[in-house]
Structures are given as structure tokens and as C-alpha cells.
């Protein structure tokens, strides 16, 4: 009886530990370390006291292309990184799957789109993508200066691949970042992400 109680307790502790590693809104963003295309490691824990954007990316996805070809996401990257925001574009495409590009091709696309992310990070085993619950590309997660996950969702409110829709759309990522930079609490916390499925 006593042994069973201990086993049950251990099981509950394990479950709690596993769940505590998942990203949840209004809770501490789980830590991770991923490396960029040069091989440099970027531990999230080193970005304490900074506003951090995690953007799930797949350059071959038409929804991602909509926001990169139009300059929508690159312009936001340029604007907000200048304001002290750290912007990580994370690719969780598994080897052989769509979006898992050779380093030279990643570099080419970054130049072609004039992308200005802080860094393009590789998550080939999908561990970080699954930990954050990244479902689509693009899918955004925003972490405030306290390390709390304050936003999870879409870039905007028009789920299409049409570049013309960008002008008409409500840009959630801008709203959240502007609020954080003004020292305010963002009014939106979650929205439904749209795009291609992450190719785990």
C-alpha cells in the first residue's frame, strides 16, 4: 500500500515536471538552447530582461512567403530589433521535410527577403517547437522582459496567402510589441495561428 502511494506520488511528480516544460500564456517561457546557421548557440536564458519574439518559420510555406515577399515581417524585424527586441526565427522542419533548407539556401532567402531577424535558429528534432506548441508557420510567441510568455498566435487576423490582405489586416504582433515597449500589458494574449503545419 505504502509502496503504491510512493509510486503514485512519483508518477504525479513526473507528469507535473513534463507539463511544466510546456509553454503556457502568463507563465515563464520554458528555456531552450538552439544554434544558428553559423553554429552559435542561443540560450533563451541569456535573454532575460529583454523582449523576445519567437517566430516559427518555413520559407517554402506560401503563408510565410506572403509575409516575407511583401516585406511585412522583414519590416517588423528591422523596426523592432532597432528598438531592442530580440527576434528569433525558428525552423522546426525535420530533415527531408519542407522548409528544412541547406544553410546556403537559408542565407540566400534571408538576403532575398532582406530579413532582419536577430537570428535564424535550427530546431530539426522539433523539441522546442513541440515544447512551445508551435502548430503553424508562421506562429508567433512573444516573451516579455520578465520572461513571461505574453502572446501566442497569428501575425494578423486575415488567414490568407494574398499579399493584398496585409494592408487590411489587424497586426497582432505589432500590437503586442508596441504595448510591451510602452510598458503596458498587451490587450490580446492568444489568437488562432494560421499557415502551413509545422513539418515535424
Amino acid at each position: 500500500m505504502f509502496k503504491n502511494a510512493i509510486r503514485l506520488f512519483a508518477l504525479l511528480l513526473t507528469i507535473q515536471f513534463l507539463f511544466s516544460q510546456e509553454a503556457k500564456i502568463d507563465q515563464k517561457a520554458p528555456d531552450f538552447t538552439l544554434h544558428d546557421i553559423v553554429g552559435m548557440d542561443f540560450p533563451l536564458s541569456d535573454y532575460r530582461n529583454k523582449i523576445v519574439v519567437l517566430e516559427w518559420i518555413n520559407f517554402d510555406c506560401p503563408y510565410v512567403q506572403k509575409h516575407y515577399k511583401s516585406g511585412n515581417i522583414p519590416n517588423m524585424q528591422a523596426e523592432y530589433t532597432k528598438k531592442g527586441v530580440y527576434w528569433f526565427s525558428i525552423c522546426s522542419s525535420a530533415p527531408g521535410k519542407q522548409g528544412n533548407l541547406p544553410v546556403g539556401e537559408i542565407r540566400k532567402r534571408i538576403k532575398e527577403y532582406n530579413a532582419k531577424m536577430t537570428s535564424y535558429l535550427l530546431d530539426e528534432d522539433g523539441k522546442v517547437g513541440k515544447m512551445y506548441g508551435a502548430k503553424t508557420t508562421p506562429h508567433f510567441f512573444i516573451i516579455d522582459k520578465d520572461g513571461t510568455l505574453v502572446y501566442s498566435g497569428a501575425v494578423d487576423d486575415i488567414a490568407s496567402t494574398d499579399i493584398e490582405d496585409i494592408k487590411k489586416a489587424r497586426n497582432y504582433v505589432r500590437e503586442v510589441l508596441d504595448a510591451l515597449l510602452n510598458g503596458e500589458k498587451p490587450k490580446i494574449k492568444t489568437t488562432k495561428p494560421y499557415g502551413c503545419s509545422v513539418k515535424y
Binding site: D41, F42, K50, G84, G104, E112, N114, S119
Partner: protein
């Protein structure tokens, strides 16, 4: 006992402003990077143009990036202001080292570097001290990349000998190795290439020319440019002109880009 706490609280409030002043740092140091503001002259006087520098010392193996980091990394930002006027000063950036890792180009600083700047103090300047403030932002990398920001503040009294740790005469020695702000140059655009003609100043030979356009995508840097001399002009034939996949960019785009190149990218 209650009176004792009231007295402590009173003392704390009285001393708070002094504590806040003492929080303003003269230098920043962690295990990867050290940042200081140093004077090139042991005594500073009104009516002089004074030379200072931000000295950045990196721990072994660590590096930071140039204003244009290249294909990875983050630009290093150094912004200076003083109590002389409201102007923001951006110091000179020395030539970084060029690193090519599997075709990924980065422009980096390793070890020790000086980023000099000048301040002219008018003879009529009222204050007894020169106050210099620095805002710095960087990404320091070795196997991993760690961001950092700091605000430093240095107060230097006029006409007294500065403390030894605030003076580094190597700043002046380093100045001669610095890139020139801009060389007289002009650019001509053709369908497939652009000619950048740099006028070589008499009796001054170019030791090295460092070229990395800030406006990416205008020149095709996958192909190496051709260099040749014509009289006192250095001709650089740059494969171009590709602005995000569109050939024949408008002259407006080109002239804007060239302005940026002139300001930031030509060193002699």
C-alpha cells in the same frame, strides 16, 4: 525600537539620491566583455578638441560585430552624449575582421578595440566637469551568443590630472589605422555592373579597401569585383544591379544606396 526604525528609514531616504548617483557606472565588465570610456589626454581643458574612446576588451575567443554584422550576428551600437551640447555622437568604428564560415560572411571584433570620438569644449563652457554618457548594445559570441546593454557615465574635472585608469594614450596611436570617413568617389550604373571610381589622394596610397554594402541585394557579391587603376583613380567594377530580384534599379534607389556606401563602407 520604533524610533530606531524611523531613524533608519529617514537615513535611507536621505541617502537614496547618493546611492542612485553611485549606481551610474564608469565601466562595464562581465566574464565576456569589458567596456570603458577613456581619455587620450591626461588633462582636459576648455577650448580644446578632446579625443576620447570607448575601449572594448573581449575575453579570449569571444567576438562582437561591426555596425553591419554581415550574414549573422547583431550590430554593435555605441551612442555617446555629453553635457557640452545635445548632440549624439557615434564613435569611429575600426575595420573589423572578415570571417567567412561556409560562405556565411560576418564582420567581427576580437580582443581589444578602441572606438574613438571627439568633443570640442568651448572656452565659455560653464560647467566645472565634462560629463560623457554612453549607451552600448552588443551581441557577444563564442560558442554561444549573449546580448548585452549598458549605460555608462563618466565625469571628468577640467584642468586637473585625471586618474591613471581613465587615460589611455594608445588611442592616438590607433587613430592612424582608422578608416577615412569617406574617399572622394563616384559611381556609374550600367545594365550588368556598376563602376565605382575612387579618387586616390595624392601621396596617400590605399592600404586596404573594405567594402560591404549596407543596402543588401544591390550588388551581387557572390561574384568578386574587378579592381584596376586608371591614373589616380581606383576603378572597382561591381557586378550588379539586382534589387530583390529586379534588374535595372531606379537611379533613386542607387543614389540612396551609394550615399550609404560613401558614408559607411569605404575605408582607405
Amino acid at each position: 525600537m520604533k524610533n530606531y526604525f524611523i531613524l533608519l528609514a529617514f537615513l535611507f531616504l536621505i541617502l537614496l539620491p547618493f546611492q542612485l548617483i553611485s549606481l551610474k557606472k564608469e565601466s562595464y565588465k562581465d566574464k565576456r566583455i569589458r567596456i570603458e570610456i577613456l581619455s587620450s589626454q591626461p588633462t582636459i581643458s576648455k577650448g580644446d578638441t578632446l579625443v576620447f574612446a570607448v575601449k572594448i576588451t573581449l575575453a579570449k575567443g569571444w567576438h562582437i560585430y561591426w555596425v553591419n554584422p554581415g550574414d549573422a550576428g547583431e550590430p554593435t551600437i555605441l551612442e555617446i552624449s555629453s553635457n557640452v551640447d545635445n548632440n549624439k555622437i557615434v564613435p569611429l568604428f575600426p575595420v573589423p575582421s572578415y570571417k567567412n564560415t561556409a560562405s556565411i560572411v560576418t564582420l567581427e571584433y576580437h580582443n581589444v578595440f578602441f572606438f574613438p570620438f571627439q568633443i570640442f569644449v568651448p572656452p565659455s563652457f560653464q560647467s566645472d566637469t565634462l560629463a560623457i554618457n554612453l549607451f552600448a548594445r552588443w551581441l557577444v559570441c563564442r560558442e554561444k551568443c549573449v546580448p548585452g546593454t549598458t549605460k555608462l557615465s563618466l565625469k571628468l574635472p577640467f584642468s586637473t590630472t585625471l586618474a591613471a585608469h581613465l587615460v589611455d594614450e594608445k588611442i592616438i596611436d590607433n587613430l592612424k589605422n582608422f578608416p577615412k570617413d569617406s574617399l572622394p568617389a563616384r559611381i556609374e550604373f550600367f545594365e550588368e555592373y556598376a563602376n565605382l571610381k575612387v579618387h586616390i589622394i595624392e601621396n596617400k596610397s590605399i592600404q586596404s579597401l573594405f567594402f560591404y554594402p549596407i543596402t543588401e541585394g544591390l550588388f551581387n557579391l557572390e561574384q568578386k569585383p574587378d579592381f584596376s587603376f586608371a591614373g589616380n583613380e581606383l576603378l572597382i567594377k561591381l557586378p550588379c544591379c539586382n534589387m530583390f530580384g529586379v534588374k535595372n534599379p531606379t537611379s533613386k534607389v542607387c543614389s540612396k544606396s551609394f550615399t550609404q556606401i560613401k558614408r559607411n563602407n569605404i575605408f582607405g
